[in-house]
């Protein structure tokens, strides 16, 4: 049987090209996603700043909670979950003495980290200030000059400054002038360091707190044993011991969040790719089965049992898979590296996190692809078993078989599944939940389309026959008749085209749906006439408030917090005259952020069961719990986030306690504001603010698009190769039409019309799928059933699908006609 499978493959290469290409792409995509996933799971972040110190004591960078689940049999299962914090956790300064007292510790070096940027310095990375006593943690050594005294700083080798220069440094305290007392011999990649005197550093950082304590072991001390001893000494305190690569994870707090994102993104894209691959390969296999209908019937007639046919087809698929999968997996490594570099450019993959390239993703992808090929072959072989051997005897052996009951049932089941998913989706109000369900919903609807396609094609062709016959005469008549008789082939063409249109529209319009809704919220809720953007210290905000004509200047700072286990986007806003700049759409209570007052979105209030006047605990980004009181419940959460907190509360618990924007109301003009804000800050009017927001949103959408673009490309390849296969197979039919007096023009017109019918049908169905999915998504996420369809983009999608379809039918058609 294997020999026969091999022979068939060799002589019918063209019939398997479609499946081969689809499997190759699937293997490549799964490998690439696997690399992202692997990086998320096992990627290491080598320490930079702490590289020179084997043991670091710092705060716990994770938030933990325990859930207990009663399994029903009396046994209660306890599970502890940990999630990374989004900001750096601080520890009390008195831990340093405790650590220093541990035997084997030669010295401790305390460190504080706070934002400090030399104005006008080169480099666009982050810039952090530290006390000079923590310089040896890296280690940093002075190349020239001396260690800083009060009013002095030491800059790193990349700063371009010289000893004796005077520099202006921006910190949360404002802009201060410092004399450069020395320059270090080295510098780090992607971050600049500014060293202050220990006293000055303590003043600029949080009082009485440290970001890390470096442990210098006494000579001859075993590091592992010492780490254990320190750990034991710290039991019951917030301090935690970090060694090896864990020091890197401590240093790059955002790397952990990025890891989680990579895992979920890699999983979602890889999974979608595999599902789409099965769908596409089932399609191409089914088409090649149809083309081999008579050969299969002949084999059945002369003694091949249904089982033998199934095994023959299964082996053919495995052979195709075995060729395509390793090649695709190899190509996938390149794709993964490319994807990694794109993600790095877009900031999804942090500089510090290295891409992990191991043999596992390609191996797993190759095996998964092989399995997908086998499953696809088994599914498409189902129809083959029904090929009656008597069909080999009749000349018209390839007449359209009836659509099986099982297929209709499966199709109806898929429709039911799609409807259920739509209902579920319309109830999902958070992005992590709605995102994957959105794509799954679209895929399930495409599955329904592929199953019920023949019925649909027949029905539509029936309706179209008179119309096309009149409009396009012979060519149109033939096209409509063929479409009706060859409903199955038509369906196999509509499915990938429908997939292409439906998936692309869904992928592209999810961000616009969200973006439109958020923009609406912001437009309605922003009362300020100007926005000052950049890192704004409080002193500058005060200066802006003092500009004549300014009635309110609200400092704003965003962060991510948790209430209980739920993660929310939160915004810190300064309380003074707040209602003149921001209107979050209060539905209950009175909007105030004075003292411990906080406002909460109606979504979060529902989720947490909170109402006005309730006290609730917020876990801030750095893991500190803060108790607040609900002053108001508001509706515009898409624009403003789910929690509005007092600005000082947020500023006290973030790494960069500087306002990212200041919203300004009043009659002051831009020039006056610009003068007050000083250099380095942008003053934007309403339209400019919206533009800046759009730019940020489109950068975010680009990440989605790059990831999902692979699936779009895949669907396009599938559509092209299915169409080309379907047309190339019709050489005989086209020859016959020419023989009985159909002109070349008429034949090509027929092909074009058939394609047009397929494209129109696919566009309608694909658009329907996308619209339904996006409407459900929008009503869940934004509360209004308004999908964000952009007509221009939509026209490009449909036009692109039509162009691909046209190329893929008319070119093979011309070739087939020329060959006679």
């Amino acid at each position: 049987m294997l020999g026969l499978a091999l022979r068939t493959l060799r002589s019918r290469l063209s019939g398997f090209v479609g499946a081969f290409v689809a499997l190759l792409c699937a293997a490549a995509m799964v490998t690439a996603c696997g690399i992202l996933l692997d990086t998320g799971l096992r990627g290491t972040v080598p320490p930079q700043r702490y590289a020179g110190t084997p043991i670091i004591v710092a705060g716990d960078q994770e938030v933990h909670w325990t859930t207990s689940k009663d399994k029903g049999d009396g046994e209660v299962k306890e599970k502890t979950k940990s999630k990374p914090l989004t900001e750096r956790a601080w520890i009390p300064a008195d831990l340093a003495a405790k650590v220093a007292a541990v035997p084997g510790v030669a010295a401790v070096r305390t460190e504080v980290t706070f934002p400090a940027t030399v104005i006008g310095a080169p480099g666009d990375g982050e810039s952090w200030g530290h006390g000079f006593e923590s310089a040896p943690l890296t280690p940093y050594a002075l190349a020239t000059g001396a260690e800083p005294k009060t009013g002095e700083v030491v800059l790193d080798a990349h700063s371009g400054a010289k000893t004796g220069d005077t520099v202006r440094v921006l910190t949360a305290d404002g802009v201060g002038e410092y004399k450069v007392s020395g320059i270090t011999a080295t510098a780090l990649d992607g971050q600049s360091s500014v060293f202050f005197s220990t006293d000055e550093a303590a003043r600029l950082a949080r009082a009485g707190q440290l970001t890390a304590i470096g442990v210098v072991p006494a000579p001859g001390t075993d590091t592992g044993a010492l780490a254990d001893a320190v750990r034991a000494a710290l039991t019951g305190t917030p301090g935690k011991v970090y060694t090896g690569d864990d020091r890197g994870r401590l240093e790059f707090v955002d790397a952990d969040a990025a890891r989680v994102k990579l895992i979920s993104m890699g999983g979602a894209i890889g999974g979608s790719a595999l599902l789409v691959a099965i769908l596409v390969v089932v399609g191409t296999f089914a088409l090649s089965m149809q083309q081999r209908h008579r050969e299969i019937a002949l084999l059945r007639a002369i003694g091949a049992t249904p089982r033998q046919m199934r095994s023959l087809i299964g082996r053919e698929a495995l052979l195709v898979g075995a060729t395509a999968a390793p090649l695709g997996a190899l190509a996938g490594i390149g794709l993964g590296v490319w994807l990694g570099s794109r993600f790095r450019d877009l900031g999804v993959l942090p500089e510090a996190l290295d891409l992990v390239i191991s043999p596992f993703p390609p191996i797993v992808a190759a095996l998964a692809t092989l399995l997908a090929a086998f499953v696809a072959a088994r599914v498409s072989a189902r129809g083959v078993i029904r090929v009656r051997p008597t069909e080999a005897l009749s000349e018209s052996g390839s007449a359209a078989p009836r659509v099986g009951v099982a297929r209709i049932l499966a199709g109806l089941l898929a429709v039911a599944g799609g409807v259920v998913l739509l209902i579920v989706l319309s109830g999902l109000r958070t992005e992590p939940a709605a995102g994957p369900v959105t794509f799954l919903t679209a895929i399930v609807w495409v599955v329904a389309l592929s199953l019920l396609g023949p019925l649909l094609a027949r029905a539509v062709a029936f309706l179209l026959t008179p119309v096309l016959s009149v409009l396009l005469r012979a060519g149109g008549y033939l096209a409509a008749k063929t479409a009706r008789a060859q409903a199955r082939r038509m369906a196999s063409v509509i499915t990938p085209l429908g997939l292409l249109v439906g998936m692309t529209a869904t992928i592209l319009f999810v961000p616009t749906t969200m973006g439109d809704a958020a923009a609406d919220d912001l437009r309605a809720g922003t009362l300020a006439s100007y926005t000052v953007a950049g890192h704004v210290p409080s002193s500058t905000a005060e200066a802006i408030r003092a500009v004549p004509g300014v009635t309110a200047a609200t400092e704003s700072l965003t962060t991510t917090v948790r209430v209980g286990q739920d993660k929310y986007r939160a915004q810190g806003l300064s309380a003074q005259n707040l209602t003149l700049t921001v209107d979050p759409g209060v539905v209950d209570g009175s909007f105030s952020l004075d003292g411990d007052h906080a406002a909460i979105s109606s979504l979060a209030a529902d989720q947490r069961g909170l109402s006005v006047g309730d006290k609730f605990t917020v876990t801030m980004g750095d893991g500190v719990h803060v108790e607040l009181t609900v002053s108001a419940i508001y509706s515009r959460h898409l624009g403003f986030g789910d929690l509005l907190l007092p600005y000082p509360v947020v500023a006290a618990h973030v790494d960069t306690p500087l306002a990212s924007t200041v919203l300004v109301s009043g009659t002051a003009d831009a020039a006056a504001l610009r003068a007050a804000a000083g250099p380095g800050l942008a003053v934007l009017n309403g339209a400019e603010t919206a533009d800046a927001r759009d730019a940020a949103a489109s950068a975010n959408a680009e990440v989605q698009l790059i990831a999902m673009g692979l699936i779009i490309a895949f669907a396009a390849i599938a559509a092209v190769n299915t169409l080309a296969m379907a047309t190339a197979d019709r050489a005989r039919e086209l020859a016959l039409l020419r023989l009985i007096g159909t002109t070349r023009r008429q034949v090509l017109l027929m092909l074009r019309t058939e394609t047009a019918v397929a494209v129109v049908l696919a566009a309608i169905v694909g658009t329907g799928i996308a619209l339904a999915t996006l409407t459900a998504f929008a009503s869940g996420m934004t509360g209004a059933a308004r999908p964000g369809f952009e007509l221009g983009t939509y026209a490009v999608i449909v036009g692109g699908a039509a162009a691909l379809a046209w190329i893929a039918t008319v070119l093979p058609g011309r070739v087939a006609l020329r060959r006679q």
């Binding site: 026969l4 022979r7 068939t8 060799r10 002589s11 019918r12 008579r294 050969e295 002949l298 084999l299 059945r300 007639a301 002369i302 003694g303 091949a304 049992t305 249904p306 089982r307 033998q308 009656r388 051997p389 008597t390 080999a392 005897l393 009749s394 000349e395 052996g397």
Partner: protein, 249 residues
């Protein structure tokens, strides 16, 4: 048709009825057909389009299940056999020659001929295969692909494949229908020779009176029933009888 030979006939149909469809749309393709095909005979089945001759062949050869009645191949009752059992029976005990598309394009002549063995998981009898290819006159072409052969040569390969398992019956469904008269004559002579020289039983459906004249007996079907069995047919006698069949008679 009756026989005095003690051994059972090669094929025996008893009250075979075949109905397609249900209710008002039901078409009775065979109406209670009973016939014996003796061993070592060459039988042609004739009839106008829609007379049920293809259905007759399908039922007799185990390609299709009759709605009612009994079909025996030698001692074996085919009615009630599972699809897989029928398939295995077809592999070794029945040979087929179809009008066209008889061969798997991917395989050479020899591989096509020995395909039934391969499907049965048996080793092909090399000497016998060579002998069969010699008899159909294709010993020089054993390694060629179907696409490299003429239409007549392809039909010879089909005949060789039908003979190679030494089946009890070879069934032909318009085996010369797609050939020119000269080539058709070669194939008919080949079939005749297998009956005469090898004692093979051959049943052939045809609409060509000349083809039918090569047979020992011609069965005439009209509206799903056998209306006559003609012995020692000639092309003229067959053509004459054909014009008075069915609705036109």
């Amino acid at each position: 048709m009756s026989t005095t030979v003690a051994a059972p006939p090669a094929v025996r149909l008893e009250s075979v009825t075949k109905t397609y469809g249900k209710g008002a749309n039901a078409v009775r393709a065979l109406r209670s057909v009973s016939v014996d095909i003796p061993r070592g005979s060459f039988t042609a089945v004739m009839g106008p389009s829609g007379s049920g001759k293809s259905t007759f062949l399908h039922c007799a050869a185990g390609l299709d299940h009759p709605t009612s009645g009994s079909v025996r191949l030698g001692d074996t009752e085919l009615a009630g056999m599972s699809e897989t059992a029928l398939t295995k029976l077809r592999r070794t005990r029945v040979g087929f020659v179809f009008q066209s598309f008889n061969l798997v394009p991917a395989l050479t002549v020899t591989e096509n001929v020995t395909l039934p063995f391969r499907l049965a998981g048996q080793k092909a009898d090399k000497e016998w295969t060579a002998e069969v290819l010699r008899r159909v006159g294709l010993e020089q072409r054993a390694g060629h692909r179907p696409s490299e052969l003429s239409g007549g040569q392809q039909q010879r390969v089909a005949v060789a494949r039908a003979l190679v398992t030494r089946p009890e019956v070879v069934f032909g469904d318009e085996p010369t229908g797609a050939l020119d008269t000269v080539t058709a004559k070669e194939i008919l002579n080949l079939l005749r020779a297998t009956v005469d020289a090898m004692g093979q039983t051959v049943v052939m459906v045809t609409h060509d009176p000349v083809a039918a004249s090569y047979a020992d007996t011609v069965l005439f079907l009209a509206d799903g029933d056998i209306v006559e069995a003609m012995s020692s047919p000639t092309a003229d006698k067959v053509a004459e009888r054909m014009t008075h069949l069915g609705a036109w008679s």
